[in-house]
Symmetry: C2
Amino acid sequence: MRLKTMGLAIAMLLAPAAQADEGMWMPSQLPDITEQLRKAGFRGKPAELADLTKAPLNAVVKVGGATGAFVSDQGLVLTNHHVAFGVIQYNSNAQRDLIRDGYVAADRSEELPANPDFRLLVTTGFDKVTDKVLADAHGKTGRAYYDAVDAAGKALVAECERAGGVRCSVVTMFYGRDFYLVKQLELRDVRLVYAPPRAIGNYGDEVDNFVWPRHAGDFTVLRAYVGPDGKPADYAKENRPYVPPAHLQVARDGVNEGDYVMLAGYPGITYRHRSAAEFADQVEWRLPTAVATMKALQDVIEDAGKADAQAKIRYASQLQSLKNGIKRFSGELEGLQRSDAVSVRRKDEAAMLAWLGKQPDARTLRPRIDAAMAEIAAGNVGRERDLLLGLLQSQTQLLRSALRLQRLAHERGKPDAERESGYQQRDEELIAGQLRQVQRRYDPAVEKRLLTTLLTRYQQLPAAQHLPEFDAAFGRTPAELMGTLDRVYAATKLGEEAQRLQGLKAAPTELAVSDDALLKLAAKLQPALLRLDDERKAREGELLRLRPAYMQALIAYREQQGRAVYPDANSTLRVSYGKVTPLKARDAVSYAPLTSTAGIVEKNTGTEPFDAPKPLLDAIAKGDYAGYLDPKSGTMPVDFLSNLDTTGGNSGSPVLNAKGELVGLNFDSNWEAVSASWMFDPRYKRAIHVDLRYMRWLMDKVYPAHWLLAELGTPAR
Amino acid sequence: MRLKTMGLAIAMLLAPAAQADEGMWMPSQLPDITEQLRKAGFRGKPAELADLTKAPLNAVVKVGGATGAFVSDQGLVLTNHHVAFGVIQYNSNAQRDLIRDGYVAADRSEELPANPDFRLLVTTGFDKVTDKVLADAHGKTGRAYYDAVDAAGKALVAECERAGGVRCSVVTMFYGRDFYLVKQLELRDVRLVYAPPRAIGNYGDEVDNFVWPRHAGDFTVLRAYVGPDGKPADYAKENRPYVPPAHLQVARDGVNEGDYVMLAGYPGITYRHRSAAEFADQVEWRLPTAVATMKALQDVIEDAGKADAQAKIRYASQLQSLKNGIKRFSGELEGLQRSDAVSVRRKDEAAMLAWLGKQPDARTLRPRIDAAMAEIAAGNVGRERDLLLGLLQSQTQLLRSALRLQRLAHERGKPDAERESGYQQRDEELIAGQLRQVQRRYDPAVEKRLLTTLLTRYQQLPAAQHLPEFDAAFGRTPAELMGTLDRVYAATKLGEEAQRLQGLKAAPTELAVSDDALLKLAAKLQPALLRLDDERKAREGELLRLRPAYMQALIAYREQQGRAVYPDANSTLRVSYGKVTPLKARDAVSYAPLTSTAGIVEKNTGTEPFDAPKPLLDAIAKGDYAGYLDPKSGTMPVDFLSNLDTTGGNSGSPVLNAKGELVGLNFDSNWEAVSASWMFDPRYKRAIHVDLRYMRWLMDKVYPAHWLLAELGTPAR
């Protein structure tokens, strides 16, 4: 009955009435959708959520690439175990394995400093700067448009950061239509307060990744500190807890099926408003091709690992990330096919263009929309090559280091403000950190085989996609390629950390004439990569200029459908609302929206990743749940499921009830929702949250930290 | 919450109120549980179901090791696709692949004869013969008791079969307490009328085996024929349809969640009333050991199949059956552990014995119960060896044939009535059939490797379990074993069908001195096997004598709990009742009790086993379901789930609604219920049925056979 169901799905996605809680709203949009929010069950005032620099939304912070929230007036921050995993790992060693055992600070003095590059960002400014950003761009096209936007943005950022203690950035909403300057306080002294053992925080690990029903206690408690002067500071003993401008209140009760919930966080990127052609490219070419290529790399690493135990260890993390990516892309593909996304988007776009044809502004908008479409199509011409070069730069360690050093040297030849993003003075510390990490993640034989896999595919591409510099450097045949790689990797000294860091210190002119084989190779390739970068920027400039016409048409079209449009996600603070919702995943298969501790025991095998700690199993057997049980089911909740609109970056996002109290922490999506970065299908899109009743029970009865419960305002029972 | 849940489970299993539809009732017991049946929703008169030789229960027939039912007054029989699979296979060849394409007879003249050894058995007599069976046994013990029972049984069978055209057997209920003489009409001309393609009848195959939600149309329609004189006859063109004494009426409506259903069939064997020690043996030793050994055999066959395509085909069926067995045993183990069966049974037995201690007949019963326990424990001493010898006889083709020929020769030296069951004159035709089948299922290299696997394990057993005859025949070392097998299999002529059938004709004395290497080997092993048989029978005799004391105590104990006791299954006709029931399989996971055609499309991958035929997919896309939709869900049903008490042998059992109309055909259990042969856990025990609405829709719209629908009394819509 696929066809029939699909018809229904299309109707649900397109009909104004069935907007179905889709949306990652800018806080400033919330007053516009007051009626929707009320209908959904929200009991607060949307206007009070409109400013993300004011309470309560300024309690929501950025943690690494994810989200967290202040939960006490003494700087306590709640985020996911997997978001704070680096902090836990940094504090672990053979004598004290906090990953295995978890950590409970007995009091504030026992809180452990995070790794020095760990940061908490508190948004303190969010100002519309569209006019400033576009002032110089008007009348320009392509690369010039891009450069004007880029330069204006960099100038705004530099000015904003001049005072110090803040990170600034310029972001665009609606793909070039609006620009905002984001100002964030950067807290550098963050400490570990409470973490459950891995077998709680990451119960089920990869086996349960993207899986509902889930049984992980994926939370960790941190605390932000500032200097005695109240300003951001590096770790120091005399620092004192940061007093946040606002904090969220942990709820005393939980939620159950049908209850209103909302979530605030920093979703990374979505493509919901991309054109139908981009949907088709993603489903018909990009996802299947990326999966096939990444699987080839996975095979190389697994094969090498069979013969070489050290290589296996060194590439464990890269392999894991490849497998994750393959699983994610495959799931996205499967989901987009299941939702018939290409056809749904095509019909929607065709309807929009037909409607636009009858509007007065069609005459100005339509040509720009057509030009944007042509630009998008032109960008696909080299897509096979670009995918391979992207993997070449992300999946190698030494070649990537050499390319980065050469690029940095190149950029250092310019004034700092004109340097490429990621290669400015403010980025150099990060680059140094990356160059240091190479040591533990590199094996020459494996890197050569990975390169062989990628470049053999490159060699087979049609001539139009070839780059003379690459052909000259690697040859046109597999034999030439093999000869080059053998020669270069035998000769280079970049495998030594000191040599790489030396490259960081060297003057640009020195690097350009370096006699290191790999640095020389990178120098040869650089002009081609710079040229591709130029072409890409020219295209991006055109799209920044033209895509707003598409967005303008879409927004107007939706408006007459009675629907508001949220901008695609871009790592800025967004709010989504919805309800605790079960999932009908397949014919005759239903998943309830709450899991319980009984499920921990059911899944438990005693071996990783289902090796719940004995104290937890004992506490479950004892069943001392008074004050924490879900009243409706009479069971002790662990995780819950909602239809909230989330994507990567929403990890750690606080989940609030209708009164704005904290009831959960977002930490994953279900498998069926992986495609939601392109299309929100209300039948399948769900988000997975830790139930804070579980956290509080653990803190009360299993790994007690009653002083923390008191600070959270939810004392032990 | 395992402990808590378990506590609940124990309560549910033991409390009188919560008998929870458990029970495979002898029809004669149904009047005793009238109140239960009424409460469950049955609308007929239990007394009308009390006689299995009268309508309607005499419409239920035995088909192979499974069940079927007459569904028209012209001998139409409904059973599972997998039960009739041999018939479909027998009629298939390269030109006409009925497995792939299914079969729809256009009219009666196109009905295809089944394989000649295919039988339908209609029960025509079921008489209590306890006094006759035990008359000579009184006062005896052990082997003498066994022989007395055996001889009395054989005499009854011989007398019963004297008239011809019937198969008779003596069965015991309650492990030696009661004996019945079963008389069955044996219909030998059975024809194939309607079979769906494999991709419908066995949609999902092994992947979906024991799986709910399920989407298989596991049914086939046969017709029984008799000679022109109305008596059972071999196939002949002039035969005419058998007019059964009764037939079931296919319902015009279906069932949905909560509806009463009941089922009649021939469940093979259950162990629900075995002792706690036997439960422990099963869970702690037998299941894990059998799984490990069968996996070793599976490895051998799969490995051989990689190198040899012909061997792969020849062992496909044996491999399938091994994999099925492994999966089944693993599931049984998992389920018994999940239900904490050993501990539940131990507590129940202890409570029963404690209660018995306070009863007046404890003085006579308790010593006999203790003696039974001791006998059971003694039987475990050689269990490792016995398991290996069992597999040696079931998993080889040629050695099994040789052993069977020698055993037959041995038995032929006795009067027919004294021969071992399975080796009497009446069994010789069956043995001949088996000897013929060897041809297509045998490869000498594979058989040698299977034997090596089993006998190497035998060689490693402690001395106490060794048999001098086996040690002499196969040697005590792997090298000797290999030498023997190579020599014997190189020399034997039993690989030729003619030679095997020749062995069947040969006089016993001829075989004993045969110079065929394998027949000689079998002759050497035979004394050991006969000795083990003797020991087993002596034990069985003791248990036949003593176990009724255990059953008597149990029945009395249950009676004061307010519960009736059904005898463990023994391939006799039983009735179970219950309702259409969803399954809460795991924390937060619920399965609805009806699947729909939408699920066929969801599962479909286009490749086996999820390769639904195009006509089916087209019909689903068309959605022409008028008259067949489930009114509650508005979907087209495929299979449904109930809590009916079933076990192996119940395949093909008719599932009836409260009015006694046929609504489904049982064909599988869920994975969680595999352990139900030992323990009925109401939380997990479910049975899986084809919904006859699906069968009727297929016959109406997809692979039409309107003449059949008319004969079934449910004409095309």
